[in-house]
Amino acid sequence: MTRSSSASRLIRRLLLMALLCAAPAAVWAQSSGDGTIYSRFGIGELYTFSSPQAQALGGGGLAVRSLNYTGFANPALWSDQVFTRLATGVHLRNISATDAQGTTSRLSSGALNAVQFSFPLYKRQLGVGLAFQPYSRSNYRVVRRSDEPLQFGSEPQDTTHYQINYEGRGGLQQIVGGLGYRVNDALSVGATVEVIFGILEEGRRTAFDSSDFVQANFTDATRLSGVTSTLGTLLTLGDVFATDDAFSIGASVTLPAPLSGKRVRTLDESLDRDTLGTAVEGSVTIPWTARLGLAYKPDNRWTVLLDGSFAPWSNFESDFEGQDGGPGRFPVGGSDILTDRVRTSTGVEFLPAGTNELASFFERTAYRLGAYYEQTYVAPVSGTTINAYAVTGGISLPTLLSGTRIDLNFEVGQRGTTDNNLVRDTFYGLSLNVNIGERWFRERKLR
């Protein structure tokens, strides 16, 4: 082993350890900025992240086997691991929200993608996956400015304008841990335990133009936590349509997740929070989710995939009732405005170099394009579903560190409609992900 390869290995390990230590705190901070008004309903905007590769290919990836990525959409994929892997990244999104009157809000937000750590216990047979990632996010912001100034005294100059900010903050996080096991050459299975927890806040802040006034900041906060599990399977067949091709079928089901917690109304001023009324205890039940994915590799350069998922959010239950002088009911608008969630996606990846590690930089770069359609689970207006369409894509860049790639992804799409007093979001986003892989736990050769 040369000194330079030892040095690069040391750098990778130090980087891995630093990210492992810092990442949980960063994910806990989750996100900043403002997003869609539809994150006000239910438990917020649901977050889906399997791997940087899957993100660029429409967000599915249930059946995509890869030595460069560990897909977290299906725990059965974890059976294929050779490298110890750490992946994380940041995601930035801009939204232009328009209503029927043509008024537009421009909003932007940033968030840390999942921090994912995986490693093989037995190479290509038994692998472990661990992740700390967002589950949902509530980050809406609506600003209403006073038409007429507030008269606060009898003198003509005793007036000031004010602004009311309706804001969503917080969301739910998820800690995932599990195993993937290869039963035989064709079949893999996997299972996870997932802890879901977090705080969803609905805030209302009245701020004044005059510095003589102290703003009033109410928050209805719902703290929830619970446990669920995902079971997955993966069937891989070779030589299906051509010699040396690979066709994979993946499926997973996430069990219903009962979450319990408290809901409380607070008055926030500076660093102090005063609780108004009493805390309300309750629980919600997140419905099950079923996923099915297909992936086809005609050779070692091309990958095509198709995925779908379904979750009966019309079965969502909540027993958080509103309280006089205290927090309102949860979720906002009640459970009746939630509808079944359907998502389909497709994508194609082209890696010119295939498995040739000695090819040029641009040949070892992967090029991806995808798309998805989603009937979201919120329907604030009865009879009108909120649908989202987007094109995704990205490039995966090789680095000097073998096994490590940098993925730059984009997403452009639209969600909602301006009919029935609703809002249409036009969004575009960028993600930057780092995917570090290295062989750990290597068996020493006897001299």
Partner: protein
């Protein structure tokens, strides 16, 4: 540039470009689903439930001014003042002083304040104080027992200095005590009372304590005894205030008792701003008296606010005496800012409350200056608590 560096630069550049996109949130989405409502602030004007003058007692001890005289103000009423002063033993003793003979004793007083007719002569009486007296925390409604008359004297309130010569018989009786330069002097000599004599004068005069002194001449040497203890006793009666007015007066201990009953509908409501506005009637006090063109009426403009906690009679200073509130150019006393806001918000949120407030005139020296406030029945000039709140309910 290597392709690796190029890719890093490209990635960072794209993210920065996205970050630089400006946010411009608007009202879009307010009507989506369950409409976003509430958060509208309102201002509530609350009339005081308590607004009256209350004689609490003013501590007039050890001020730099003592008061004496009687004034009859046709609006404010009659005030009669008696001043008390005591002296410290000599710090510098001329040679031969203790053994010599006292030939002359003069009380030299320096008027620096006059309320009333400043040109009409007035007569005051100097009485011995027979017993030791302690001025600590005495309030102005206290009177001390005075002894025999030492001297009467006449002055005009506009005089710059008043020299009161003590008579020979008084000198004979007190000469030996005045020559006592030991610590026993304080136990043997207890100063004077200066009280008004009913002779037609119409003013209360204040004497500067720091400059006033007792000058004792022994042979050819004169020593000055400095004043080390003072007290002013004040008595007030009568008055003919216009309707819907409340009087505060320095020296007499009259303070404004102020209280508000907050509506139950504002419970658990945060307060964005609170302001107490009280209008002063400066017109009445500044009006000249047609039959007394030389009548000078000083007025007060500085006020301290204290709070009386519920269940406790001990007042708590809400504004410091070192930084009082002042009547502004529009004749308004305005108490605003964080202090009243947090006080009333604390009450609305169920915390501790002040049963009432007390407004006290703050002046560095003793005076009898008045301040007249419009009361709750004074229409547009009535006092108010202006609360801007953001109701919880939508």
């Amino acid at each position: 540039m290597s392709p690796y560096r190029l890719s890093a630069v490209l990635a960072c550049g794209l993210l920065l470009a996205l970050l630089a996109a400006c946010e411009d949130p608007a009202s879009v989405g307010a009507g989506v689903g369950e409409e976003l409502t509430g958060g509208e602030p309102v201002t509530v004007a609350i009339t005081p439930s308590t607004f009256e003058g209350e004689r609490i007692g003013d501590v007039t001890t050890n001020s730099t001014r003592i008061l004496s005289g009687t004034v009859d103000d046709p609006v404010i009423g009659q005030v009669s003042a008696s001043g008390y002063l005591d002296f410290s033993r000599l710090s510098t003793v001329p040679p031969g002083f203790p053994e010599g003979t006292v030939s002359r004793v003069e009380l030299r007083l320096f008027p620096d304040y006059a309320y009333g007719d400043t040109l009409r002569p007035m007569r005051l009486a100097l009485h011995d104080m027979p017993n030791e007296w302690d001025a600590s925390d005495l309030t102005s409604d206290t009177s001390l027992a005075a002894g025999s008359l030492a001297q009467e004297f006449t002055l005009t309130p506009a005089d710059s200095v008043v020299k009161v010569l003590l008579p020979n018989d008084w000198i004979t009786a007190h000469g030996e005590v005045l020559r006592d330069t030991s610590e026993a002097f304080a136990d043997r000599f207890h100063g004077f009372q200066i009280q008004p004599v009913d002779d037609g004068g119409n003013a209360v005069v204040g004497f500067d304590v720091q400059r006033s002194q007792l000058r004792v001449t022994v042979d050819d040497d004169t020593a000055s005894f400095a004043i080390n203890e003072t007290f002013s006793s004040l008595d007030r009666s009568g008055g003919n205030l216009p309707p819907n007015r409340v009087l505060l007066q320095d020296g007499t201990g009259i303070e404004l008792s102020l209280g508000f009953t907050l509506p139950d509908s504002l419970r658990n409501t945060p307060v964005n701003r609170a302001e107490i506005r009280i209008r002063a009637d400066t017109t009445t006090l500044n009006a000249a008296l047609p039959d007394q063109p030389d009548f000078v009426r000083h007025t007060s403009t500085s006020v301290q606010i204290l709070g009386i906690p519920e269940g406790d009679d001990t007042p708590v200073a809400i504004t410091p005496s070192s930084n009082p509130l002042r009547i502004d150019a529009q004749a308004r006393l305005i108490f605003g800012g964080e202090a009243p806001r947090s006080i009333f918000e604390n009450e609305l949120l169920g915390g501790a409350r002040f049963e009432r407030f007390r407004l006290r005139l703050i002046l560095s020296e003793n005076t009898i200056n008045p301040l007249l406030f419009f009361g709750p029945g004074a229409g547009e000039r009535a006092p108010q608590l202006l609360l801007t709140v953001t109701p919880l309910n939508e």
